[in-house]
């Protein structure tokens, strides 16, 4: 008789992490294949505009990547996992969403008529498909690297990076679709026009804000599993539903772009401020405990949570001691982060 129970015993923790990583790589490869299959012909027929559409996203990606990582207090999330989040959004989530949306939009058109679908199918399909597929990337990071996302603030940052990757890919596809919608009469202008709207006008309140909030929800689940008092299923569900609602409003017809963008950006700012305040308060408590236990001096504790002050401390130290101090700072910080997240 085959039993399911011994399976987990036979697979070691390391093997299960490698399985998660392999699945993530496979999902990213699948998403890339779907996107290539869908848009390869654009590269053949419109090589210069297609490359322009991709090149225009590079500054957005670099700037967004740097700013989002910088938003995490004390120190940025691990570079490799930040990049992994971006890649998941740009490939696995974007590719799968292309197929999922096509299916669901087709169902809306068949069930509710083409006029209704023209107005509402995107806003009724994308929040469900895209938010879930994007947040799966945050969950995969939790499974592959449990130390990277310890709470809602980590989830918010990594989620934002997943959304940023998705947003960049979507911008490229919109630019390419713009060529078709304008009858290919001026492909470069079609790409530039799409870029102006999607980066110049709506970028501030687009996918990165929504997935950041959904990602914070994953962080709440992680915090709950770690036994932290602020963790919970309810805030996690609330975050995912909020992200979906933001997406619905963002895609809804007859709402001014400035309102949609403003709402999404404001929602992100409110959640970010709430989470950073709570995080800072817990970090200060954790430091006070460490000082009381004598594991860290009051002087070291004073500079630990600030990037600038940690750097200043390192600059004041002799070259021989710098590495040692940096290691000590990292070790104390890791402990504080565990408690604060």
């Amino acid at each position: 008789m085959i039993s399911a129970r011994p399976t987990a015993r036979r697979i070691t923790s390391g093997q299960s992490i490698r399985l998660v990583e392999a699945t993530a790589v496979l999902a990213c490869a699948f998403g890339t294949a779907v996107l290539s299959w869908q848009f390869f012909r654009f590269l053949v027929v419109f090589p210069a505009p297609a490359l322009l559409a991709a090149a225009l996203e590079i500054p957005l990606l670099l700037l967004g990547f740097a700013v989002l990582r910088r938003l995490r207090p004390a120190r940025p999330p691990a570079l490799a996992w930040s990049a992994a989040a971006l890649v998941w959004g740009a490939t696995a989530a974007a590719g799968c969403a292309l197929l999922a949306n096509r299916g669901l939009i087709g169902l809306w058109a068949k069930g509710a008529g083409t006029r209704f679908a023209a107005d509402w199918s995107a806003s009724l399909s994308a929040p469900l498909n895209e938010e879930v597929l994007k947040v799966c990337g945050v969950v995969m990071i939790v499974l592959a690297a449990p130390a990277v996302i310890l709470g809602p603030l980590d989830g918010l940052i990594l989620g934002g990076l997943v959304g940023l990757g998705f947003q960049a890919t979507e911008n490229v596809t919109y630019g390419l679709n713009g060529i078709v919608l304008s009858g290919a009469t001026n492909p470069v202008q079609a790409v530039a026009d799409s870029f102006t709207v999607r980066v110049g006008l709506t970028a501030l309140g687009s996918h990165w804000t929504m997935t950041a909030i959904a990602g914070a929800g994953v962080g709440y689940l992680v915090a709950r599993r770690r036994g932290a008092a602020h963790g919970g299923v309810l805030p996690a569900a609330a975050c995912l539903l909020t992200a979906m609602a933001m997406h619905l409003i963002f895609d809804a017809p007859q709402i001014a772009e400035v309102v949609k963008v403003g709402l999404s950006f404001a929602a992100f700012c409110v959640v970010y401020l709430l989470l950073t305040n709570a995080y800072a308060s817990r970090a200060r408590d954790a430091l006070a405990h460490q000082i009381a236990a004598g594991t860290i001096s009051r002087h070291e504790a004073a500079s630990l949570l600030s990037r600038r002050r940690r750097r200043q401390e390192l600059d004041r130290t002799s070259a021989a001691e710098r590495q040692l101090l940096a290691r000590r700072q990292a070790s104390h910080l890791a402990e504080v982060e565990r408690d604060a997240a």
Partner: protein, 200 residues
């Protein structure tokens, strides 16, 4: 010993947790990515239109046009979108009606070349003839020509709107040997094109 056992227990629990969540993520992704398309393909992609039905393509009075459809035609909803495209079908004849947004009137001469390139993306096997100019209703200058997309043949017609800020492209495709009556029915849709702005 007890600590070792507890450590092993925690590791097993973490591994189980990881595998359970991995399975959930894969299941959810598969459900969305394959589930919706499968469900969509299971629902009939054909909605019959009443004879004389008028279809508006585009948005707003100044940016839209209308065609009148004869009896026996159906719309394929999955490929149709009231603001950008309609795909109509009657037996083996397919009529694609596309709304093309233009930035200014100087883009009008590029419409035929643009259509050739768009077809190279969406239907790489399609071949388009040189265009012939004709005057559409309301004295609007238009272009038409032949298209061949094995095993189908047909016509392409492009009519710029009165203000030249958009155009309507219509592609009729049918297998060789399709009855003249069916082709004439498709042609009647093409020549029924009316611009909301011009008709005022």
């Amino acid at each position: 010993m007890a600590a070792d056992a507890r450590g092993r227990g925690l590791a097993v629990s973490a591994t189980r947790f990881r595998l359970r969540w991995l399975a959930s993520v894969v299941a959810v992704m598969a459900l969305l990515t394959a589930g919706w398309p499968l469900l969509n393909s299971a629902v009939a992609n054909r909605q019959p239109l009443p004879g004389g039905a008028k279809l508006t393509i585009g948005s707003g009075a100044s940016g839209s046009a209308m065609v009148t459809v004869g009896p026996g035609w159906s719309v394929q909803p999955a490929q149709s979108n009231g603001t950008q495209e309609y795909r109509l079908r009657k037996a083996a004849v397919v009529v694609d009606i596309r709304h093309v947004s233009l930035v200014d009137r100087y883009q009008v001469p590029g419409l035929w070349g643009g259509m050739r390139q768009v077809l190279a993306v969406i239907d790489p096997g399609a071949r388009l003839s040189k265009p012939v100019s004709f005057t559409a209703p309301y004295e609007l200058p238009a272009l038409t020509g032949w298209i061949s997309s094995r095993p189908l043949v047909g016509t392409v017609t492009i009519v710029p709107g009165p203000a030249r800020d958009f155009a309507i492209g219509m592609v009729v495709l049918a297998p060789r040997g399709t009855s003249r009556a069916l082709l004439a029915a498709a042609h009647r849709i093409v020549i029924s094109l009316m611009f909301s702005a011009a008709s005022k």
